[in-house]
Amino acid sequence: MKSMINKKSQAALEFLTTYGWAFLVVGVTISALYYFGALDFSKYLPQNCVFPSQFKCADFSLTPGQVRIKLTNNIGEDVCVKAVSITNDANPPVSCSFGAQAQGICAASEFGWDHSADKEFVFSSCSGGAYIAGERAELKVTMVYYALNTPSKPQHTFNGKINGRITTS
């Protein structure tokens, strides 16, 4: 009985020593593929921007240092936009500057947006956060606004996502 157990242990050990090299090679290969991005399947996803239907995304473009998004105000009211920001999950995240121009009856640091109107948001000087030409980027856009005709002017937030390749031309 004891000799049978010994034989089994020997067989198991021999199996591991023989195939250990094979496991090691497979492990190293998979690690290398992962390191060089071959296992990053997200690049095969279609490019798109997902925003709430109340601020529908009409178009977008990602170029080196610049992000442009065209949104439509479908909320049914004129609004004032207080803040717009862009970020991503990288550490540190992407950093862009947004220069809003005061417009209409909104406060100095805000800008107006009429209902049913398209507005193009241009973020410039984008850097960091793996925002590299030719690479794929997933960006999160956050906007804070309030409706002009609501007496207490409560602030609301909406978030959207852009997933696309940063084109060089």
Partner: protein, 154 residues
Amino acid sequence: MAESQQAKGQSALEYILIVAITFVIIVPTTYLFYSYSRESGAELSDAQVTKIGRTIVDTSTSIFYSGVGSKTTVDVNIPDSIKGARIIDGKELVFNMTTTFGETDLVFFSSVNLTTTGTNCANNVCKIPELGNPGVNKVKIEAVSTESVSIVVI
């Protein structure tokens, strides 16, 4: 004996190749479909909430102009992503929605004054937490006065 071992070796290699090719096809396909369905899920929730918001606001307007005492109920199917609803200034019906890329307010504007049961109202904000319960909910819409329409989940 050597031939038999060779045959076994060949079948083992073929087996490994078939399993490897299957994995190469299944893993990326699963990832792509999962990612795509996640975004479609967010768009579906958005469309559902837009329909609910418009139904409530349009029905409230209709009930308001039908006169005091008019009432009706509407069935709404609340998606999981909705965390609650509130009425601000009697004018804005706001749904708080959670998506994979953050929290979003979906706002619906009413031309008539909206309210709910008094206990849920403080200052100019009336909360309707029951509108955050996923699934089918019955919403009672009633013209409680010449000035406002009450929205209550029953």
